[in-house]
């Protein structure tokens, strides 16, 4: 794992990552590897430390120990915005959009972030097709094309979740960190989201945190089960399904029919 051969090097790797909140180890010597192009699902009970891990990967939280390697480089000390500019995008478990901007402008803002610097003081950004055209295309892709001009604050919950994903997508990332993209969605919206993720799969590497086991087992190439900040198991969906420890510690407990 020297990172010299790009084809074999993982897109993302954590090495003995530790994050403590007081006495609680929310991430406990976690070593995780996400291969280029795979859809890697991260599952685990409430409070297992999934969001805490995403926070460290994106740079909002500083780990207490361990390293994070992204695309062959150590990014442990890089601030959030620089990681994003290197191709690491995230969506938020709790919807985080720009309420006073329209849906289109939310996405345009994401496009603009990756279209060079923004020290441009004179031209009207709203009329800049280099921002609005790609933004509109991404909105169409997530199924929000008809809602482009609606203020984000006026979107329905499910639509906000779609917008959340659209913004992450619009940055043209190498790696997508998705924190429960289907949280709070109705069955129809969820199905659409699963369809969309299936389309995205292969084109972009995805680390997916999700409680919906049907979605996870339908989409994932690999699954890691997180319990109390540590990886209980990691493997193919079939292997995870058959794993006795996983069944006992998590799947059984959740009452999921697996």
């Amino acid at each position: 794992m020297t990172g010299t051969s790009t084809s074999a090097a993982p897109m993302l790797e954590t090495r003995a990552l530790v994050k403590r909140f007081g006495g609680l180890a929310a991430t406990d010597h976690l070593s995780l590897s996400v291969a280029v192009g795979e859809l890697h699902a991260l599952i685990g009970p409430n409070g297992a430390g999934k969001t805490t891990l995403i926070g460290q990967l994106s740079g909002e939280l500083t780990p207490d120990a361990g390293r994070i390697l992204f695309d062959g480089r150590d990014v442990t000390a890089l601030p959030v915005d620089q990681r994003s500019r290197r191709g690491l995008a995230r969506s938020f478990q709790i919807t985080s959009v720009f309420p006073s901007f329209s849906a289109l402008d939310n996405v345009a803002l994401a496009v603009q972030a990756h279209a060079g610097h923004s020290f441009r003081f004179w031209r009207d950004a709203a009329r800049d097709r280099r921002l609005s055209d790609p933004a509109r295309a991404v909105l169409e892709r997530v199924g929000l094309g008809a809602r482009a001009d609606v203020p984000a604050s006026a979107l329905a919950h499910g639509e906000k979740r779609q917008l959340e994903l659209a913004m992450a997508l619009a940055t043209g990332p190498k790696l997508l960190l998705l924190d429960e993209p289907m949280a709070g969605m109705g069955p129809e919206e969820s199905a659409r989201m699963v369809e969309l993720l299936a389309e995205l799969k292969g084109g972009v590497t995805i680390l997916l945190v999700e409680h919906d086991m049907d979605a996870v087992f339908a989409l994932a190439d690999r699954i890691t089960v997180l319990v109390r900040g540590a990886a209980l198991a990691s493997g193919s969906p079939a292997a995870i399904r058959a794993d006795a420890a996983v069944r006992e510690a998590y799947l059984g407990e959740e009452g999921e029919a697996v």
Partner: protein, 337 residues
């Protein structure tokens, strides 16, 4: 809430009416034999410029600066200090003083912007209440610094006996000319700010006001952009300071006092935060009230005008509660320019 004014004016119509009124004021004042209104009008324009510059960071960037008057004061002191050296023929760091506007006014802007750079860089490490407190602390520091500048009058400040000169340009010693120059600069500043807030740069600072965390996650080095906006606002405030020194023929530490920064915030909120024209209306409203509330009170009972501040407070509170989106929102029905 039901609309309080039945048929609000379209923003463009309101804007045109405002501009016509502003252009006509000197003629009307002369015709009415009340040159005092010309001076009051100029003061309003100057404070409007300062308030617009504050709204750029407060209303669009979400930076609640409680020290904005410091940059106005610094701009004023550039005019005052250079005037003082010109007057007694002394030098400053080996340079002679001057009242040449082509030098002095750009220098006032430069000084405002340069002062805003370190103050912004330090203040922007925080946000929310700490940001308010730090900007306030810096401004008070500068206030005391000016109080201690005995060479420039200390507490008493510097009195000017002539306005800035523009060789080959407008003669602003004439009140009407000074008024029109101030109006021209305010309109130019409004135009620049309007382009600015709608540009890519403007979107970044507006986005940061809405959701700074998400902006970072999208890849924006947010602080850099906010600091740039802070410096631009400081430079515009510096220009307002240069105008203020010329309007009053005086500069003193009180221009930097926290209560002046508070006045600027009141103008922005009263007129309509996050709108560019709002602060202009807010400046006009506050200065007119300050002018006429004491007079009206004296009419009711001689000497009562002394206590005008007790009356002004509730009037402002009432106005802010009545016009939730500010005076500009009241006039235009809440449309943004």
């Amino acid at each position: 809430m039901p609309p309080l004014i039945r048929s609000p004016l379209a923003p463009r119509v309101a804007l045109a009416l405002l501009l016509i009124a502003a252009l006509a004021l000197p003629t009307v004042a002369v015709w009415a034999g009340e040159p005092f209104y010309l001076r009051l009008g100029a003061r309003i324009l100057v404070f409007a410029l300062a308030a617009v510059s504050l709204d750029l960071i407060l209303g669009f960037g979400g930076m609640v600066s409680f020290g904005h008057a410091a940059f106005v004061g610094i701009g004023g002191y550039v005019v005052g200090i250079l005037f003082a050296h010109q007057a007694d023929g002394s030098t400053l760091f080996g340079w002679p003083g001057t009242t040449n506007g082509y030098i002095v006014w750009p220098l006032a802007m430069l000084a405002g912007g340069l002062a805003a750079l370190p103050i912004g860089a330090i203040s922007l490490r925080t946000s929310g209440v700490p940001f308010i407190m730090i900007t306030l602390a810096f401004a008070q520091m500068l206030f005391y610094l000016m109080t201690g500048l005995k060479a420039y009058g200390g507490d008493d400040g510097v009195a000017l006996w002539s306005r800035t000169s523009f060789p080959g340009g407008p003669n602003i010693a004439d009140h009407a000319t000074f008024y029109y120059v101030s109006l021209g600069l305010l309109v130019a500043a409004l135009l620049v700010c309007w382009r600015l807030v709608n540009s890519r740069f403007g979107r970044v600072i507006r986005g940061a006001k809405d959701n700074e965390r998400r902006m970072r996650a999208l890849g924006y080095p947010v602080t850099r952009y906010k600091l740039t906006a802070f410096v631009i606002a400081g430079a515009l405030a510096g220009l307002a300071g240069a105008l203020l020194a010329n309007a009053t023929l005086f500069v003193g530490p009180q221009y930097l006092h926290w209560s002046r920064s508070g006045d600027l915030i009141v103008m922005v909120v009263l007129g309509g935060i996050g709108t560019l024209i709002g602060p202009v209306l807010g400046a006009a409203a506050l200065l007119l009230l300050e002018e006429f509330v004491p007079e009206a009170m004296n009419l009711v009972h001689a000497g009562l005008g002394e206590h005008w501040k007790i009356v002004l407070g509730p009037i402002l509170l009432g106005l802010v509660l009545f016009a939730r989106k500010g005076l500009w929102g009241l006039v235009t029905g809440g449309n943004r320019p």
